[in-house]
Symmetry: C2
Subunit: 428 residues, 2 copies
């Protein structure tokens, strides 16, 4: 693997692990674990952040849901697949149980992400538009390929693993808005890992499961392009097209937050001194996120006014800024009322202009050309670390957090990749 690919795999890993730490106590995770724990097997793999160990298949399921529940995980923009939630959750659970080196882990992770995204390219965006939840229907191949690689499957067995994955692929896009959306992601992680484990035992499948006339690609998509699966394999890397969200809220709000955070940091703006904030954005941003008075976490994630207020008050826009309690906090509510929105069709969807009028009459202004996390301005390693710190804060001490960040960056030299999972839980 080229060095940039290896580094991107580590970035995907850091981002995924942070998301899992941040999401590990959300309602869907609690309910799923409550339902599954009585059926679970021996303690082989860690439930990230929250702690108990359980069998690797159950851990893969739960960790995938933790990582995806905030919709804060990575996105392969061409297909809108969130690959790492599926792939890394399966792979780390297996790695912890079977003891795989960090170097093998990174290789398998990159291979899995490639597999998921390339099969996603083959079915095309039409599959998503027609109602398939592409993160699970295609992500499962990534979990199978990564797990199969880690298990050392030969070509015949890997073929079977992908075939078993093909016949286990499921997920409807309409589940968005319910808990079953992230269950799709957990299901894909579990089923992909299962597929590899079965193939390792000689469990057979059709050997042309992807490309046959009645195979996965043709059954799921109207006009699938099977050549996209292998075209440029090992030369062009889909993993290099992953995007990471800097903030757990509507993407059109992101440039506004960028401006507020940068002005606060660079110009030392004190939230208490702000008399009015004028925000000019693309009309779509106001249509989607114009709510001036959100009442809970979910509504606050779709509110520009709320995002401006918390960014100025806290100098951050992470999970803690979008809790139910924060949505009704008196200081936040007071500052929100000072935000005025203006639609401006000349401003792009990834852009924003923010003007602050301070109590003493001075005015500050900033225009954001490209939001952080966009193709033109990918998150830097330091920004990914900052995101990770915000997500890990509820579970780990700052020292543990820094150690875990360091372990992700040095994954390639870890003798046992599973150490990362064990280090994700607060010492008791």
């Amino acid at each position: 693997m080229p060095k940039p690919v290896r580094h991107e795999a580590a970035r995907a890993m850091l981002n995924w692990l942070g998301c899992a730490l941040g999401g590990c106590r959300e309602e869907p995770v609690e309910r799923l674990w409550a339902a599954l724990r009585e059926f679970a097997g021996p303690p082989q793999a860690t439930l990230l952040g929250r702690g108990p160990r359980t069998d690797a298949l159950t851990a893969a399921t739960i960790n995938a849901i933790s990582a995806n529940v905030f919709d804060f995980d990575d996105t392969h923009l061409a297909t809108v697949i969130h690959p790492t939630a599926v792939v890394a959750s399966a792979l780390l659970a297996l790695a912890e149980y079977r003891c795989i080196s960090g170097s093998e882990f990174l290789h398998a992770l990159a291979l899995g992400i490639e597999s998921a995204c390339r099969i996603g390219n083959a079915v095309g965006i039409a599959h998503y538009e027609e109602g398939g939840y592409i993160t699970s229907t295609c992500g499962i191949f990534g979990a199978a390929a990564a797990s199969g690689k880690a298990l050392g499957l030969d070509a015949q067995s890997m073929n079977w693993a992908l075939g078993i994955a093909a016949t286990s692929a499921s997920g409807l896009r309409m589940m968005l808005g319910s808990m079953a959306k992230c269950y799709n992601v957990g299901n894909a992680a579990r089923s992909g890992l299962s597929a590899a484990l079965l193939a390792a035992r000689g469990f057979t499948s059709s050997e042309r499961a992807l490309e046959a006339p009645r195979g996965f690609l043709n059954v799921l998509a109207e006009r699938a392009d099977s050549t996209a699966v292998t075209r440029g394999l090992g030369e062009q890397w889909e993993i290099l097209d992953l995007a990471y969200k800097p903030y757990p809220c509507g993407v059109v709000v992101h440039p506004v937050i960028d401006a507020c955070l940068d002005m606060r940091a660079q110009q030392a703006i004190d939230a208490a001194a702000v008399a009015r904030v004028e925000v000019s954005v693309n009309p779509l941003a106001i249509k989607l996120c114009g709510n001036p008075a959100p009442r809970d976490s979910l509504e606050s994630k779709l509110s520009i006014a709320h995002s401006v207020a918390v960014a100025l008050l806290d100098g951050a826009a992470s999970v803690a800024q979008y809790l139910d309690t924060r949505a009704v906090d008196a200081t936040v509510v007071a500052l929100r009322t000072k935000v005025v929105l203006a639609a401006d069709a000349s401003i792009g969807k990834e852009q924003a202009r923010v003007r602050m009028i301070l109590a003493n009459g001075t005015m500050r202004e900033m225009f954001v050309e490209h939001a952080r996390g966009s193709i033109q301005r990918p998150l830097s390693d330091a920004e990914l670390e900052a995101k990770f710190r915000g997500l890990a804060a509820a579970e780990l001490t700052p020292a543990q957090t820094e150690q875990l960040i360091e372990r992700c960056w040095s994954l390639a030299s870890l003798p046992d990749a599973g150490a990362i999972a064990r280090a994700s839980v607060a010492a008791h």
Copy 2:
């Protein structure tokens, strides 16, 4: 439930249990259990026939595969769904763990079979033709509905259970011919049971998962008829249209076996005295099953000549007659060479004419108008019992077999339906 429905549920149960006993040591079952056992949870439910107890979700998976591996389980003819392998496997595993009465069990079983077949009617045969493996894609709803009923879900939770099932539905028809075919069935049993367990914990899904524009029915089928799901519900019963195969071999061979078995029994024909057997069948039967010299179990199931030989020699055509060893047995091979096939387009696919010329020159002939197990000539209770005895023979003593048959017939009055699972294992 009307009495005939209740009785048909007991018949479906007896047939399913026999199939699971007969298939429980087949290669796909061995490999799946070898792969899954290290991840399995506490001993809650019995692996039918073979014995160890494991967690209910794993037991549901394995038992479904045991029941389906021979393709000897029931068929809902309009949709070609094999419903009971999915539904009963999920339900009995749950029943054994949660202690459900036989009466509740029968009710839930019938409801599950109705759900699977009715949703199958709604997607239509086109879904199967387009490449979906309808037994798993629609069977999962049966497992979810039956399990949900047994768990006492209210309407809201049952809606979620069906929604979670919809987004977990998977399976490609092209897996036929590989082990992954019956894995589909196991997957559907497990995922349907999981869906009900999740819903019981308040795990939510889209609430119009079946009928919405981008719901299950429209995503999976070109021209789905959603009204078929509930039309005549509680008045017309799909379970009354289940067909049971009398013999574990190609369906076009069945009328030939009927003739051989009946002639042997009624006319006391001694296989050793047979000089020649002339078999006239529909041309399709010869195309599919004309192989005069099968080399193994799989080939012998698609051989009229083999079926004639074992039927005359053993007076039976059950699992024991289609083992690898039987395909190469010298006496069987010798008798097979005396079978002469003739194609006759005037003979229907469910018909056959068999003429035997004995060594002393006498000739016997029989024409079968409708094969056993066809719509016109459904298997009697006694024939189902005979099939069960053939399937159970390798695992249970005759006394245990008779007791288990009796328990299936008296299921409605059993205080604990799980007793059936425990009685399916030889006492050690």
